[in-house]
């Protein structure tokens, strides 16, 4: 009993020591650091800034007043097109190395003038597609500013007379197909032919059958039912075209529960059938913030995809920019709400110029031009080199990333994968473990185990033989001892008996 008590005491003391020795890591709030990243367990960890403001495009210093309700932004070549909706004009700015310069202001031409333009898209040959929302049309200009044609309200049964056509965002794919996101349209994007003819809708999300809704519909009146219907389908809020000609769209009409289950898909990459082909292989889905307070989940308003497959999404709820790689891994998060340089008050549009990012802030009326820092460049290089099969360079770049940020999960993963490729299985193990990459860790471990077994087969067999032999000898000795004892006992009996 006493012994048992002592054992229990020792066990409890051990547990106490374990408990007090475990230092609780400090959890970082989502809104504190300027730049952060998510670890495997959805904790936000502070990180160096991947992007820094190079300069700001301020309409006033360019000599053309203030931006008012600016809502659209587009970059083609070195030119940035800013939709100054409130002033019914589009400002064209040349993006210089260290400062912007004004190129032109587009307001009107022969037979057309802009009324609250909300978005603009420029093709490679210089044609401009302007979502001229006040005039209910998409205006198509050629490179000289002459009106080519206009896309107006589709002549289709789905568009009743009472509905007005208010194009909000426009994008054009390589074939000249025009995709329009119009307000109040929840069947997806409206697709027009290269000459402006209505083709149909594209990319509407399937409305899943919901038993709860069904029950509610059964018991509600017709008026209530009409009210309900307007909540169901997804309405996109922005479009971008990536380097491969696929459409990236964002949406913010979903409920948090659908976001958790992965059904909401706030960022989508649509193929030509309107199917979502965004790759989400990361530990978390592409939903922006992974943890949030009562202010709610991320509300995406724009997306832009770089030429190497990386894409950035703009969250207007907390003014963060989320970077993802083409596999859907979260790279980093930066930005935030504030008045300082690099923070935003009300970001509405996001574009890229090479690897620079342009963010339009409609409350401040400026476009911030952000360019990658050394840290961001190292990540960028590492991913690009890896995708190109240039593993030595990628390895060096990931090591550089780790010098900046020892918490960077993808760097460990990248180094681990490259070591695995080089056949350094033992060296890969630790890195893949830090990265929580079970798939590649398992592969590396399998190889390492095989090598180990092959190297040490002789010792293993020798060890087994020695153990078996030892056991046999031991058994023999104990048997002899037993026999001896029995003999002694018998002899004693005989002696006593006699």
């Amino acid at each position: 009993m006493k012994k048992a008590l002592r054992t229990i005491c020792i066990v409890l003391a051990g547990a106490f020591l374990l408990g007090s020795a475990g230092i609780r890591a400090h959890a970082v709030g989502v809104d504190q650091p300027y730049s952060f990243q998510y670890d495997y367990y959805k904790n936000a960890l502070p990180a160096p800034s991947p992007y820094a403001v190079r300069y700001e495009i301020d309409a006033e210093s360019l000599g053309c007043g203030y931006l008012q309700e600016a809502s659209g932004l587009y970059v083609r070549g070195d030119l940035a097109y800013i939709c100054d909706s409130g002033n019914d004009r589009i400002i064209v700015v040349r993006l210089g190395e260290s400062e912007p310069s004004l190129v032109s202001v587009i307001e009107s031409g022969s037979g057309w003038s802009l009324n609250h333009p909300t978005d603009v898209f420029v093709t490679e040959d210089g044609s401009m597609y302007i979502a001229d929302s006040g005039n209910s049309r998409v205006l198509v200009l050629d490179r000289t500013g002459r009106m080519n044609f206009e896309v107006t309200k589709p002549d289709d049964v789905t568009f009743t007379d009472s509905m007005t056509f208010v194009p909000q965002k426009v994008a054009v794919t390589a074939g000249g197909r025009i995709f329009v996101q119009a307000s109040g349209v929840n069947r997806g994007l409206i697709e027009f032919s290269e000459t402006g003819g209505f083709i149909g809708y594209m990319g509407a999300s399937n409305v899943a059958f919901n038993f709860e809704d069904y029950i509610w519909k059964l018991i509600s009146t017709e008026a209530q039912r009409d009210q309900m219907a307007s909540f169901v389908p997804t309405e996109y809020n922005n479009i971008a075209v990536d380097a491969n000609g696929f459409l990236f769209v964002t949406t913010s009409s979903f409920t948090a529960s659908r976001l958790y289950s992965g059904e909401a898909q706030p960022v989508r990459r649509l193929n030509y059938n309107g199917k979502n082909i965004l790759i989400e292989n990361g530990p978390s889905k592409v939903i922006g913030a992974l943890r949030w307070d009562e202010s709610g989940p991320s509300k995406f308003v724009d997306v832009t995809a770089l030429d190497n497959g990386l894409y950035y999404v703009l969250d207007s709820r907390r003014n963060f920019i989320y970077g993802y790689d083409r596999q859907g891994y979260s790279l980093y998060v930066f930005g935030g709400a504030g008045n300082k340089e690099g923070y935003f008050q009300s970001p509405v549009a996001l574009e890229h110029h090479g690897s620079d990012l342009l963010v339009l802030d409609d409350r401040r009326g400026v476009v911030s031009v952000l360019s990658v820092t050394d840290y961001g460049q190292a990540i960028y290089d590492a991913i690009t080199y890896y995708n190109d099969g240039n593993y030595e360079e990628s390895y060096a770049a990931w090591q550089k990333v780790l010098q900046y940020n020892g918490n960077y999960m993808l760097a460990y993963d990248g180094i681990g994968k490259i070591r695995l490729r080089w056949g350094d299985y033992e060296g890969a193990l630790d890195y893949l473990k830090y990265a929580n990459d079970t798939y590649y860790y398992s592969k590396a471990w399998q190889q390492y185990r095989k090598d180990w077994a092959e190297r040490n087969l002789v010792y293993v067999i020798a060890g087994i033989l020695i153990l078996a032999g030892g056991a046999a000898i031991w058994r023999k000795i104990s048997r002899e001892k037993e026999a001896l004892a029995r003999y002694e006992e018998e002899r004693k009996d005989i002696l006593q008996g006699s």
Partner: protein, 225 residues
């Protein structure tokens, strides 16, 4: 065989449990001969409460050990979010609540076991969890995720074995039939939920009462001075 008889008879004579090491070793007999084992545990006093508590403590430790040493291929733990006391409470509290509510239920249902019997039997039932999981953690570090079925199988086996032992323990401790046991276990689960709710209610009310008296006290102090 001869030695075991000796131990048990000695324990029965003295009226106390068996010597600690023998009582602990007896767990190995119980897990493979549950019906016989649990009968002797109670009637021949071949086990003891301290041994059972030790096994339970080992079970708590091995659940911690499992979190710490299982390969991350099979079990991922976010160590930044782990509070070791909570982890231990997660194992200990359900066990204690189960034993207490089981005793409460079976007392009403004509069970023959005392509280001490219930704790002892449940403690001994946890042996397979310790015996399987401690080596399993080490083995998990040697296998790949394709061989994960092995891990899942043995982990499941350890839980299932414990469950079977608990059923056998109830049959023998309370002298029930199998049907009775299953029903009493179900009622025990329901009762456990009630106990948890009651505990929460008591905590809430005590906190409220405490804060009431505290504020009355503050009031008096502030008025007096």
């Amino acid at each position: 065989m001869r030695r075991r008889e000796k131990t048990s008879s000695k324990a029965a004579e003295s009226g106390r449990g068996a010597a600690f090491p023998a009582a602990l070793r007896y767990a190995l007999y119980v897990i493979v001969h549950p019906l016989d084992g649990f009968w002797d545990l109670k009637h021949e006093k071949r086990g003891s409460l301290p041994a059972a508590l030790t096994i339970a403590a080992l079970m708590v430790l091995s659940s911690l050990w499992r979190k710490q040493f299982t390969s991350f291929l099979f079990l991922r733990v976010d160590w930044t979010q782990i509070n070791i006391w909570l982890e231990m409470a997660e194992v200990v509290l359900p066990l204690v609540i189960f034993c207490v509510s089981n005793w409460s239920v079976t007392t009403l249902f004509d069970g023959k076991g005392t509280m001490k019997d219930v704790f002892t039997a449940v403690g001994y039932s946890l042996t397979p969890y310790v015996l399987i999981n401690v080596p399993l953690c080490l083995v998990s570090n040697l296998i790949t995720s394709e061989e994960g079925g092995l891990y899942t199988f043995f982990y499941g086996l350890s839980l299932l074995w414990c469950a079977v032992l608990v059923v056998c323990a109830m049959i023998q401790t309370h002298e029930y039939t199998l049907g009775h046991t299953v029903i009493s276990l179900l009622v025990t689960l329901v009762f456990s939920v009630i106990v948890i709710v009651l505990i929460l209610v008591i905590i809430c009310l005590t906190t409220d009462a405490f804060s009431y008296f505290w504020s009355v006290g503050r009031e008096i102090v502030l008025r007096t001075y």
